[in-house]
Amino acid sequence: MTRQQVLDLYFMDARCKLIELAAFLDRVERSDGEADFRLAAIREALPLLQSAQQDKAKAVLLSLSDPTKEPLLAAPGKGACGAWPGAPC
């Protein structure tokens, strides 16, 4: 596909998701209380979108991933929360 064709196919969808993300940040910021590590994880990933390099999706996924190598001693639960807290969440 040409760049123009990609824009024609996907711009409206990307625009929608961008506004949804902006609205989510507004919603979090006008709410009371402390934010946990997940908000910081999203803020750390946002600059990656401005990179001139390819593989932005991969870079965002890596930024949200557990970078450690050793297996855990025990499962802290069954679910995943979407960002690495620096310790089991």
Partner: protein
């Protein structure tokens, strides 16, 4: 359009989903054993589940002319209890001769623990001893990268395992190359909120190539889409991929991998 759905948890779906998949061109459906959404209290619960996967569910699918195949294991979410896991592992050999069983799966890791890893290694040993294909589940979200690396290390550590007989599922942009570069097959799972969307799946295929990749919906009791594979085929056609290439991806590739089992036969 024709396609094979290589990973769907049909025990959690309605009969109407079977009909919709068949109408969309599904030629066969394969169902790995997985977590029921709650922990079973004993190995007897797994015995009943394996009977469901190898007896009842094929009959339900057959009502729509759809061949049904299954994979057996204790999933990693319940592998933390090693006593229970070993009781379930002991049940599996007696089911491997059933006519719709393709191999061991979906094994793997969930929270990347020592116990999960030990049970994964015992599943790998079981597959090697009985010369079975392997279907691997990789962990969700922040645990996927680390889990994929641990799984690759465990598979590579067993010299009996041939990478071409192992599919590592739920790859995303940060893990797909790790899997393919090591010689294993990679599965891209299409799921509404996690894993991949049709657009991202098409991106990955365009960048990694179509060789040794299958697409699957992994539809289950969660928010999921049983028609995600044909939807992705439409996405690729919309991008200009030719019908032959799309057919090779959604029908030819799973056919090539699954046909390594003598039991996988479709008309």
């Amino acid at each position: 359009m024709r396609y094979i759905e290589p990973h769907a948890h049909m025990v959690s779906r309605t009969t109407a989903d079977y009909e919709a998949m068949r109408l969309a061109g599904c030629e066969a459906v394969c169902e790995p054993a997985f977590w029921a959404g709650f922990d079973r209290s004993s190995a007897d619960g797994f015995y009943d589940y394996f009977c469901q996967l190898t007896d009842y569910e094929p009959k339900r699918a057959a009502r729509f002319g759809l061949p049904h195949f299954s994979w057996l294991c204790i999933n990693p979410k319940e592998s933390e209890d090693m006593g229970l896991a070993r009781e379930v592992l002991a049940l599996i050999p007696s089911f491997l001769e059933r006519p719709n069983v393709l191999g061991i799966g979906e094994i793997g890791l969930n929270k990347n623990t020592r116990n999960e890893l030990a049970i994964l290694e015992e599943h790998i040993d079981l597959a090697a001893r009985f010369n079975q294909l392997i279907l691997v589940h990789t962990p969700h979200l922040e645990d996927k990268l680390k889990g994929t690396k641990l799984i690759l290390d465990a598979l590579k550590a067993d010299s009996r395992i041939q990478p071409g007989r192992v599919i590592i599922d739920h790859v995303e942009e940060h893990t797909v190359s790790l899997v393919l570069d090591a010689g294993f097959w990679a599965g891209i799972t299409l799921y509404p909120e996690s894993k991949a969307t049709p657009a991202r799946a098409a991106d990955m295929v365009e960048q990694a190539g179509m060789q040794n990749i299958w697409l699957n919906c992994a539809c289950d009791w969660g928010r999921s889409e049983p028609l995600a594979v044909p939807q992705t085929a439409l996405e690729m056609r919309r991008r200009g991929h030719c019908a032959t290439a799309v057919d090779d991806l959604i029908y030819g590739n799973p056919l090539r991998f699954l046909s390594q089992s003598p039991r996988f036969k479709i008309a």
